[in-house]
């Protein structure tokens, strides 16, 4: 069953057009990776899906419902959660408060609760009363993922979750993604770390200058195809 579909999705930052007719599809339970160079439009795509950027009403469908005209808060309540680039935890909230507020607009039963998040990332339980500003980069990323999971989303959007982290930390974070998927959550991963993304993705879209330059299953795509789609050579 198709969970998310974008058709001819365009997005603008004021007068600057960042996306030019993006067509994508995600089936229920699937993990899709979106790769591409800096400025390819990957984060813009996630922002448009999450409602942080306006888009045409019929250009984004979620669970068969058009959501393009909805705001971010309404879209979150339908079951789309975004882990934003740079984590962006709330600095005046403790770690536990950051997690709890993830379910503010959507408290639905599901596999993810505060205890389940602590089981997934035990270090967060140790630091639950600390300010989120005192966490390391990796711990902040765990808290940002946990915050998004607290709403038991049907679709988790992850924007550059490996950015700025040490390789060992990236490995730890990528190790939990299969557990999230096993809980029934579909995922879209925006990544520059192609190797990591290809390992966990069922399908890949490569973006270039605001357009889809390549798509397919990771096993079906050759290194040369990806290189050409990524760099436009």
């Amino acid at each position: 069953m198709v969970l998310l579909e974008t058709t001819d999705l365009v997005a603008f930052y004021r007068d600057f057009q960042a996306l030019f007719g993006i067509d994508t599809r995600l089936n229920e339970g699937e993990t899709v990776a979106i790769i591409g160079a800096n400025g390819a439009g990957k984060s813009t795509y996630l922002k448009a899906v999450a409602g942080l950027l306006p888009s045409e009403p019929g250009s984004v469908y979620f669970g068969g419902k058009p959501i393009g005209a909805l705001g971010a808060a309404e879209i979150m309540r339908l079951g789309i959660a975004l882990v934003p680039e740079g984590r962006r935890l709330f600095p005046s909230l403790t770690v536990e408060e950051n997690l709890l507020i993830g379910a503010h607009g959507r408290a639905v039963p599901g596999p993810w609760s505060i205890e389940a998040i602590y089981a997934l990332f035990p270090v967060l339980k140790q630091r639950r009363h600390q300010s989120s500003t005192t966490l390391s980069g990796g711990e902040q990323q765990m808290a940002a993922i946990g915050r998004a999971l607290m709403s038991n989303p049907r679709l988790l959007l992850c924007d550059e979750i490996s950015l700025g982290l040490a390789p060992i930390v990236i490995r730890d974070i990528y190790q939990v993604l299969p557990r999230i998927k096993a809980g029934g959550t579909s995922m879209i991963l925006v990544e520059q770390d192609i190797v990591q993304a290809m390992k966990v993705a069922d399908r890949v879209y490569c973006f270039q200058e605001g357009r889809v330059s390549l798509s397919g299953s990771p096993s079906a795509l050759t290194r040369e195809q990806i290189h050409a789609a990524y760099f436009g050579t």
């Binding site: 409602g51 934003p84 005046s92 909230l93 408060e97 503010h104």
Partner: protein
């Protein structure tokens, strides 16, 4: 010596009134970064609402406050929802212009409805009641109640902000309004709730404004000035800091008046300037502004 002690105590108690003026302003600025130039006039408006309710229903001022608080809560919500939310954005000029205009509208509306005559809220026997602290040193019950109310309001606001889900949403929206939306938080509703709560605090401030001194439609801007000074001295976004700011202005004013009656207002402003020079971010700034 006793006279100086009395002066300082009176200043501290006066600081409670200034803190009450400032708490609503601090709350609004803290959550939505809105500089509300109509805040002083909203305090005066609230005083007139209490006055009108007390007169119409034959209530004392405290009873009228209980009725006025939900009315002003609704007014604050509507004001933010229908007017001020439309002005918020990257440009700081629209909210300044609109609240400046609102200030003028409130003043003229009150002049039309209540005339320019001064009014006063009655506190009955409490107005003249006093408590003896030392032989030869007594303080009025109303000033004591004012300070106690300011402390009570701060405890209540801190409980709301740090112990409830809506307080969490207030702080999250203040930290990062864009990401707060991703938590399912409707920023516009949060802002409207914040203004509604601020108007309840304003109503409490108005009760003490009107029971301690005469008021008329024109005195709002001066209250706004004291409120601004208290907020800035305390450090933006800190409620206890706002109380400290109010007390510093209050003590400076009473000490100034003790030296020379003409120096009362000037001394408060000089204290404000001194803090600005020494601690430009205020005495208790939040870690993240």
């Amino acid at each position: 010596m006793l006279a100086l002690l009395d002066t300082v105590i009176q200043g501290v108690l006066l600081g409670g009134l200034y803190a009450l003026f400032a708490l609503g302003l601090s709350l609004i600025f803290g959550i939505m970064r809105l500089v509300n130039l109509a805040h002083g006039d909203l305090i005066v408006l609230a005083a007139f609402v209490i006055f009108a309710l007390a007169k119409a229903l034959g209530l004392n001022s405290f009873g009228a406050l209980v009725l006025a608080a939900p009315v002003l809560f609704g007014f604050g919500y509507a004001l933010q929802h229908f007017v001020l939310n439309r002005t918020l954005g990257r440009d700081i000029l629209p909210p300044l212009l609109v609240t400046f205009g609102l200030s003028i509208i409130i003043q003229n509306g009150l002049l039309e409805a209540f005339s320019a005559d001064t009014k006063r809220l009655s506190a009955g026997a409490l107005e003249t009641a006093s408590v003896s602290l030392l032989p030869g040193l007594a303080v009025g019950v109303m000033p004591l109640l004012t300070l106690a109310s300011a402390v009570g309001v701060i405890f209540a606001l801190n409980y709301l902000f740090y112990r409830t889900p809506i307080g969490r949403a207030f702080r999250a929206t203040s930290d990062d309004p864009e990401i707060a939306q991703l938590m399912g938080i409707d920023n516009r509703r949060i802002f409207a709730l914040a203004m509604a709560v601020a108007m309840v605090v304003t109503a409490i401030a108005a009760l003490y404004l009107g029971t301690r001194a005469n008021f008329d439609p024109s005195i709002g801007p001066a209250r706004l000035l004291y409120a601004f000074e208290a907020v800035i001295i305390g450090g933006l976004g800190s409620f206890w800091g706002t109380l400290a700011g109010g007390i510093i202005i209050g003590v400076a004013q009473t000490v100034g008046a003790h030296i020379n009656a003409e120096w009362q207002i000037l001394a408060g402003h000089l204290a404000f300037l001194a803090v600005l020079v020494l601690r430009p971010r205020g005495l208790f700034p939040r870690a993240v502004d």
